[in-house]
């Protein structure tokens, strides 16, 4: 394996881990409500921007990060309470426009609260590159990969072993049946927005030291996360993670070997090609439609 290939692979994995976290957020909300939350990218932005401004105000990372995650989670809960719940039963297009309206609102809010400039965050633990098999990796990339892995493990424990997680899973399979066995599906929907927002914020905090952050980073990260979720198959947790990693690696490889000008377009080319052949993504549910 050449050093260059290794370098692209490591960079791709780092970017892919971020996409995977955003995609997981999409999947969790989709499972609970069949809503595609186009404001998911804004939580990534809020996480990054809040951390940057809190540390600039003198708070240490250990305090700033939990505060930023909590802020994003609260905004996620408010979004569900005041925008999604009142519109229950609306069509897919209506819900898409509501969440896009929310994302424009949050971006406008960020512009007013913060500013339009790019902000660089300090890496968690220094910025001396580490050499691996001829390639180098930033300590921050290790943080990205490590935290993503921890979150994936924690989520699989949460959905497989806890009552609340199982309730969420049950709701995603059959809302009515879940309600009949006594699950509070409205609470599940409410919490899923908070959980997704927190996941998005974590992604934004992890990536901010590598790519810098600004009030509009959420647009592209949100769309790429959506592409990753669709690539894996909407609603599939494994799909979201695999979709994110595949997207990150292929994007970095093609930017490196083919054309860096079209780096951001590649994700969408891949998604179109995959959907042409597998209309429900790699791990999506297949099956007939009831008439």
């Amino acid at each position: 394996m050449s050093a260059q290939f290794m370098q692209y692979l490591l960079t791709g994995l780092t970017v892919g881990a971020i996409y995977a976290l955003v995609a997981l957020g999409f999947s969790i909300i989709f499972n609970a409500s069949h809503v595609i939350n186009f404001a998911q990218g804004e939580f990534v932005m809020i996480g990054g921007m809040a951390t940057v401004s809190l540390t600039a105000a003198g708070l240490p990372y250990l305090l700033a990060i939990p505060l930023a995650i909590a802020a994003a989670a609260l905004i996620g809960l408010a979004l569900e309470k005041f925008a999604v719940e009142p519109a229950r039963g609306a069509s897919v297009v209506t819900l898409i426009i509501i969440t896009i309206g929310a994302s424009i609102f949050l971006r406008g809010l960020a512009m007013v609260v913060w500013d339009k400039r790019f902000h660089a965050a300090k890496p968690f633990t220094g910025d001396t590159p580490i050499a691996i098999a001829g390639a180098t990796i930033l300590p921050q990339s290790l943080w990205v990969l490590g935290v993503t892995l921890a979150i994936v493990l924690a989520l699989s424990w949460f959905f497989g072993r806890t009552l609340l997680g199982k309730a969420m899973l049950a709701t995603s399979h059959n809302r009515l049946a879940a309600q009949l066995v006594g699950i509070n599906v409205r609470l599940v929907l409410f919490l899923s927005f908070g959980l997704s927002a927190a996941l998005g914020a974590v992604a934004g905090i992890l990536i901010a030291p590598i790519t810098t952050t600004s009030y509009d980073v959420g647009v592209m990260l949100g769309l790429k996360g959506f592409a990753a979720a669709i690539l894996g198959g909407l609603g599939s947790g494994v799909g979201a993670v695999v979709g994110g990693l595949v997207l990150g690696i292929v994007e970095t490889m093609s930017a490196g070997y083919l054309s860096s000008a079209y780096k951001d377009a590649i994700a969408f080319v891949i998604i179109l090609v995959v959907l042409f052949f597998l209309p429900s993504g790699l791990f999506g549910r297949r099956g007939g439609e009831r008439v």
Binding site: A83, A87, A90, V93, G108, V112, L223, I230, L272, P279
Partner: protein, 315 residues
């Protein structure tokens, strides 16, 4: 006779023509004319898009891409290669129709959120090609476009453009109203309520969906060409994802499956940013809040909600 007058296809169209003819009475300066023309151009796109979203029930988050292809095709052929503007416009529109036909079949096999993703991706790819190939398109800075001319006559000035766009919008509305009353229109509505059900009664769902997709793309590309010639300058912001969203919002705001609703939606949402400019830094927040608010409280859109309210009031 009275019943015919009350139908959208005769009475509605006549009232609409009268509104277009009378509107200049209140357009007191160039600025108002300019807004009215922008409303008309957006309304042409929305009438086409409404056929796809409102009648056939297929979402598209990428129609700014078709609008942009129309605009840039006209700009490049007419300004860089010196084609006559009408020839450039027709060639561009035909090329966009061919593209929509080619990608339509595989894309429209998808449903719901997957279709949203695919059309969104298509729009973004078009956007990126336009911003990256700056040799032809001028990249992020945009490109200047020659004024529209036909046989030596140059189309310039807000007043002339108002009548041209008004007439073309009327034509677009007339075409759309006729299409939805035709067998093809009934087939579209049938597949909106149940695709499998429509196929069982002998409707070729795939063919119908591709047809309406191509029609909506042609409307968008044509309006894009007009917009490029009218404003004399085109930038990639008109091709961006956000513009696609604005177009869909216009359709849903005005009312899905309502041709005049699409026109109302275009009128309100084109004028709104001009009014919101007074909020300065808060403009984006207010726009987002208005989008959310109308969708929460009027999920069916303005025109169908009003029509319902009127019907209830009458009985």
């Amino acid at each position: 006779m009275l019943a015919r007058l009350a139908s959208p296809r005769t009475g509605g169209l006549l009232a609409f023509a009268a509104a277009i003819a009378l509107l200049p009475l209140v357009l007191s300066n160039k600025y108002f004319y300019d807004i009215a023309i922008l409303v008309g151009l957006n309304a042409i796109v929305c009438v086409g898009l409404n056929l796809l979203i409102g009648y056939a029930g297929q979402i598209s988050l990428g129609h700014a891409g078709f609008f942009g292809l129309g605009a840039y095709g006209s700009a490049i052929l007419a300004s860089r290669f010196g084609w006559p503007p009408l020839a450039a416009m027709l060639a561009t529109t035909a090329a966009v129709a061919a593209l929509a036909f080619l990608v339509g079949r595989p894309i429209l096999r998808l449903k719901g959120n997957y279709l949203a993703m695919a059309t969104l991706g298509l729009g973004i790819i078009i956007f990126m090609v336009i911003t990256t190939e700056d040799k032809y398109t001028g990249g992020p800075d945009g490109i200047a476009v020659v004024p529209f001319s036909l046989g030596g006559y140059v189309l310039q000035g807000e007043r002339i453009w108002y009548w041209v766009v008004g007439a073309l919008l009327l034509l677009a509305v007339w075409l759309a109203l006729n299409l939805i009353e035709s067998p093809a229109g009934r087939a579209l509505r049938a597949l909106h309520s149940s695709e499998v059900g429509a196929e069982v009664v002998g409707i070729n769902a795939a063919e119908q969906k591709v047809m309406v997709f191509v029609i909506s793309a042609v409307f968008a590309a044509f309006a894009g060409s007009l917009a490029a010639h009218y404003s004399g300058f085109i930038t990639p912001s008109k091709v961006a994802f956000l513009h696609s969203i604005e177009l869909v919002t216009m359709v849903v705001f005005g009312g899905m499956a309502s041709i005049f609703g699409a026109v109302v939606g275009a009128a309100v949402l084109t004028t709104l940013p001009q009014l919101l400019a007074v909020f300065e830094d808060y403009e984006m927040m207010v726009f987002g809040a208005v989008m959310m608010g109308t969708m929460i409280f009027l999920p069916r859109g303005v025109v169908p909600s009003l029509a319902r309210w009127l019907a209830r009031w009458r009985t």
